[in-house]
Symmetry: C2
Subunit: 383 residues, 2 copies
Amino acid sequence: MNSFDYCNPVRIVFGEGEIARLSDLIPKGSKIMITSGGGSIFKNGIWDQVKSALAGYDIVEFKGIEPNPQYSTLMKAVDLAKKEKIDFLLAVGGGSVLDGTKFISVAAKYQGEDPWDIVEKGAKVNEAIPLGSVITLPATGSEMNCLAVVSRKEQEKKLPFGNPLIFPKFSIIDPAVTFSLPERQVSNGIVDTFVHVMEQYMTHPVNTPLQDRQAEGLILALMEEAAKLKADPNDYQVRANIFWMATWALNGWLNVGNVQCWATHMIGHELTAQTGTDHGRTLALVLPALWNHKRKEKGDKLVQFGQRVFGITGSDRDSIVDQTIAATKAFFASVGIVPSRKEYGITDEICRKVAKYIGDRGKLGDLKNIGEKEVYEILQLCD
Amino acid sequence: MNSFDYCNPVRIVFGEGEIARLSDLIPKGSKIMITSGGGSIFKNGIWDQVKSALAGYDIVEFKGIEPNPQYSTLMKAVDLAKKEKIDFLLAVGGGSVLDGTKFISVAAKYQGEDPWDIVEKGAKVNEAIPLGSVITLPATGSEMNCLAVVSRKEQEKKLPFGNPLIFPKFSIIDPAVTFSLPERQVSNGIVDTFVHVMEQYMTHPVNTPLQDRQAEGLILALMEEAAKLKADPNDYQVRANIFWMATWALNGWLNVGNVQCWATHMIGHELTAQTGTDHGRTLALVLPALWNHKRKEKGDKLVQFGQRVFGITGSDRDSIVDQTIAATKAFFASVGIVPSRKEYGITDEICRKVAKYIGDRGKLGDLKNIGEKEVYEILQLCD
C-alpha cells in the first residue's frame, strides 16, 4: 500500500423523502441558484419537492445544462451567478448537471482571464460558491467527490478536473427518484459504476488486499442487484442499493493507498467528444479491449478478479484472462449493452484522431505507458 | 437498506515518516497540549519525531492516560487544559489515549456541573477544543470516528459516547510505529477489528448487499494479513494493511444504512470494568457465546458469513452456524487468543453483577432483546 492523504467531508442524506430536508442543509437567507438539465425534473415531481422544501428562500433558476456539460452553457450560468450575487448553488439532476455546477462554482470566483484554464491547465482557484446536490442518476459518483468532467465542443474536448473546493457540502440521494429514469440511463449507470471500480482495481498490484476485496465485493453486489433490477424494476431496495454502489464506486474509499488507471475513461471521453456516444457505452466498448491489450501487466489482477468474482477455475493464466474478459462482456450484455464500434460511428479516421489527440497530451494508465500507438491498437481490438 | 445521514470529515495522513507533517496540520501559533499514555512513546522514538515536527509551537504535556482511560485522570487534564488556555489537543498513543483526549476536548468546554453527564446522560455540549492524533495502535478505529469509551472506576463503569465535535481534525497513521508493539496488543487489536466489523454485520438482515460484501471482504483480508504477520512480523506492508483495516472497521463506512448490534462490546466493557481483562480478550470470549445464544435471529447472516468467508458448504443451517462459530474461535486462536472465563477471573458473582448492571440500563442488541436474563445466559455459554 502506498502512503496517502485522504479527506472526504461530503454529507450524504440518503432515503426516500429526504428532499424535504433541504432547508436544514442550506444556510438560511442564502440566495440560491438551482441548476438543472433537460427538463425531466419538471415532469417527474422532483422540482415540486425541491421548490416546496425551499419555500422562503430567494431562488434563481438556471435550466438546460446538457449531457456532457458544455463550457459555453456553463459560462452563461457563471454570468448569471455573478449578476445575481448567488451564495449557494444547488444542482438538481444527474452527473452532468452536478459536474457542470462544480465548474460554475469555481469559475464564478476565478480571478484569471479564462476559467477554462482551471480545467485544461490546472489553474489555481482559491474560492468557490458553496454547492449542494439533489442527485437523480446513479452513475457518476459526483455526489460524493471533488471531481468533474466538462466539455468544450468547438475544441472537441472533454476533460476532467478536481479540486477540494468542489466537494458538495451535501448530497441528497432519494432512490425513489430513479423509478422514472429511462432504462438506457440505468444501464449506462450500472456500466459506469462497474468501470469506475475497475479503473481503481485493474492495475499492476501494489499490495492492497483490503482495497481489492472491497472492489470485488462491490462488483459482486452490483451484479446481484442488476439481475434483481431486471426481474423487478419497481423494487425500492434494489434501486437504493444500486444508487449507494454508484456513490461508493467513486468517493475515494476504494483508491486510498492504491494506484489507478483511468485510461478507459480517457479514451471513452474522446470517443464521446467525437461521436456523441453515451459515456457508459464507450466504456463498455473500450474496457475489454484495453484489458486484452494490457493482459500482461494487469495479469495478476485479471486472474484474481476472474477467480474471486466470476469463480473461474483452472491454472492456465491466459485462459482465465480470456474468460474474465468474456464474463465482463456478458455482464454488460445482461444489462442491455452490447457495444459496437461500427454502430457508434467510430471510423478508422476517428480512431486515429482520438489516438493522436490523447498521445499529444501524454501517456495514460497506472504505468503511464498508453500513448498514441497503444490507444490506436486498443481501439482496433474493440468489437 | 435504511435511510441515513452520514458525514466523516477526518483527514487521514497515512504512511511511514508522515509524523513529520504535523506542523502542516496544526494551525500555526496554537498552544498545544500533547496527551500520552504509559510512556512507551518516549522509548520507541515516536515522541522525538513529534517534538521535532512541532519545533516552535508552545507545548504542554499531559502524560499517564491509562488503558480504559479513567475519569479522574482525564479531569486532571481538563483542569490543566483550562489553566493553560490550550487551543489544540494532540493525542499521541493508542485508542485509550485518543478516547481520553476526546473526552478532555468536550469536558474542557462543558458549561454544566459535571462533565461525566456528557458520557452517562448524553448531556449537550456545544463546543470542543479541536484535536488531532498520532495513533500508534491498530485496534479501536478511534482515529477516524466521533466515538470514545471512558471509565469511572469508583462507579465500576465503562461507557461509550459519541459526538460530531470529537471527530479528530486529522489522524496520522504511520504503520512503522507498530513494529515496537508487544505481540499481545497486536493480537488484541486484530480481534477488536474483527469484532467491530461483526457488530455492524451480524444482525438481522435489512437488505444491505454492498455493506455485507464490504464487511466480509474486510474479514477475508484481515485473516490473510494476520497469517502473514505471524510469518513475518517485520513486513511493513502487512503492518500497513492491518492498520488501515482497523481504521476502516469503525469509521462508519460499513454501517451506513445498516443496523448494528454492539451487545458483545457492551458486555465486554463490563467484564473489563469488573476484572481488568484486556478489551480484545473479553470480546473473543463473548462473541461466539452471543452468536450461539442468538443463532435464530442472526441465522441468515451467520450462514452467509460461514459460506462466503469460511467456505462452509452443506445445507443444514444449524451445522453451518456451528461451523461458523468454531471457525471464528479458530481464527482468534490463530492470533494467540484462547479466551477463558476462569482464567479471566469471571466468577458467577461477576456474571450476575454484569447482567444486572446491563439489564438495569436497558436492552442491548440490534433487536433490543438482550436484557439481564439474556446477558447471564450468554455469559454461561462462554468458554
